[in-house]
């Protein structure tokens, strides 16, 4: 089942065109890795899919199941480091988009938030202050928040950037498990080796554009040149 389809999409800021002619589909359960040099427009593509940025040319079609919300893990450092908030407050805020005008969280939502914390093995951090956590812990908290927003699609913008080796491996493992449970993953990555280890599909943007399955990608020049 197709969840997101981009047709001939262009990304641009004011007059400057960042990327052109992007076409790809994301099916339920896919694990799509977006690769490309710095500044090639990966984050911009993600923001466009999320509706944070408008586009002039091309088309994005969303399936009804994900109209209610996409989970999003922003590129790190967008969030303020000195923000006084507990892990619980942050994770619960993932539900807000679905709540309409209802002002407070329901019991079932608090329950699901707890389960998501357990799933990411951070239930012991529930009452801790976000700004005092390590980078890896912070990323997992933000991932738990994204899981509260949706069970369908997660968009992750460089989720392992700045993490040490162990936290990185842990993060990849968690993402893989979520994917096995049926959550569609769209992840921006710098790390070609892990991309081809975990992804089912690869989208490469920049000077060379490629979209296809992992196996097809392994045969391309882009892959052979980088390795």
């Amino acid at each position: 089942m197709i969840q997101i389809e981009c047709k001939n999409l262009s990304l641009e800021y004011e007059q400057k065109i960042v990327a052109e002619g992007l076409s790809f589909v994301v099916n339920k359960g896919d694990y799509l890795c977006i690769l490309g040099e710095n500044g090639s427009g990966k984050s911009t593509l993600m923001k466009t899919i999320l509706g944070l940025k408008s586009y002039k040319h091309g088309q994005i079609i969303y399936d009804n199941t994900i109209k209610q919300g996409i989970g999003y893990l922003p590129q790190q450092a967008v969030i303020q480091k000195d923000f006084p908030a507990s892990v619980k407050e942050i994770v619960l805020s993932g539900f807000l988009g679905k709540m309409g005008l209802r002002p407070y969280y329901a019991t079932i939502e608090k329950q699901i938030a707890k389960e998501n914390l357990q799933k990411l093995q951070i239930e012991n951090l529930e009452n801790r202050c976000f700004r005092e956590l390590s980078g890896g812990q912070q990323q997992r908290v933000l991932l738990a928040r994204a899981l509260c927003a949706t069970k369908e699609v997660l968009l992750l913008d460089e989720p392992v950037a700045g993490l040490d080796y162990q936290s990185t491996e842990k993060m990849y493992e968690i993402i893989e498990n979520l994917n096995k449970e049926g959550v569609t993953i769209i992840m921006i990555s710098h790390d070609l080796v892990s991309a081809i280890k975990y992804a089912s599909h690869i989208l490469h943007i920049g000077k060379k554009i490629f979209y296809g399955t992992r196996e097809e990608f392994l045969k391309t020049d882009i892959y052979k040149e980088t390795v």
Binding site: L52, D82, P84, S86, S93, Y105, E132, A146
Partner: protein, 279 residues
């Protein structure tokens, strides 16, 4: 001293001042947390100058119920500023233009057209609120109470939304929260609070009322709810004692409140440092 205080408390003008002071500082501290964390604290400053300009205009055209003129003008400017308005002029430049312009023109108007014999006294009052809180009329007290209750109610009702918007606006937008609407709401609330606070501390010192309590609370608190509650309590206490002290020893109300806020901030700063060491 106590006798003197008790006798003062009998006067309606003292009671009015305390009621309005407590309510206004409660409201400003609630929104202050969000404004400080969103790096919007400068907006309070700019808007208060706009409110000063509007006050000058209303004085010149001889409006008696001037709050009803100042309020809409300030709200419009708040909306304009937070929306970004004109793309050619960046946000902080627009703010500077508006803020300095309103201040300059306001003073000019007051000088040229004021019928009062004591222009510089009037200007000083509007800038530093030296006595206006002690000369409130019953309808102003009523209006302040009504607006404060509305602000507090809206804040409590939308508390979780305001948290999400403050912490990560992009995420909130991406997951379906109507962030534009809530940003607008915050802009309007900010404008209302600033107009209310002008009576208390005057338009130059309003930022102190918005910034200090939340900064103090952030030194020691670990979550958003705590920060919100502690800053509300601090703000109310500082204003309450500020008003009492200023009445008893005859200092200007606004400056006294600001001074007490600064002392509390320094205190909390030290507590924060000590706590940080111990952990």
């Amino acid at each position: 001293m106590i006798d003197k205080l008790v006798s003062y408390l009998q006067y309606p003008f003292v009671q009015y001042a305390l009621i309005v002071g407590v309510l206004v500082s409660l409201c400003s501290s609630l929104l202050g947390v969000t404004l400080v964390l969103k790096r919007f604290s400068f907006i309070g400053d700019g808007l208060s100058h706009v409110a000063f300009g509007a006050m000058a205009v209303s004085a010149v055209i001889g409006l008696s119920k001037n709050m009803l003129f100042i309020l809409p003008v300030t709200i419009i400017c708040a909306v304009f500023l937070l929306k970004g308005g004109n793309k050619r002029i960046s946000g902080d430049a627009a703010l500077a233009i508006l803020s300095v312009g309103a201040l300059g023109i306001g003073y000019l108007l007051m000088n040229m057209f004021s019928t009062s014999s004591n222009v510089s006294g009037d200007v000083c009052t509007t800038l530093f609120g030296s006595t206006s809180i002690l000369t409130l009329k019953p309808y102003e007290v009523g209006l302040s109470i009504a607006l404060s209750v509305i602000v507090v109610f809206i804040f409590i009702f939308f508390y979780n939304k305001i948290f999400a918007l403050t912490f990560d606006e992009n995420f909130a937008t991406a997951t379906g929260t109507k962030t534009e609407v809530y940003n607008l709401l915050i802009a309007i609330l900010t404008a209302v609070i600033i107009v209310l606070a002008m009576n208390l501390v005057g338009s130059l010192l309003i930022s102190a009322l918005i910034i200090f309590p939340s900064l103090s609370a952030m030194r020691v608190c670990k979550n958003f709810l705590q920060v919100t509650i502690v800053s509300a309590i601090l703000s109310v206490i500082c204003s309450f004692f500020g008003i009492i002290v200023s009445i008893v020893i005859g200092t200007p109300v606004g400056s006294t409140i600001v001074l007490i806020n600064i002392i509390v901030f320094v205190l909390f700063y030290i507590i924060g440092l000590v706590k940080g060491r111990l952990v």
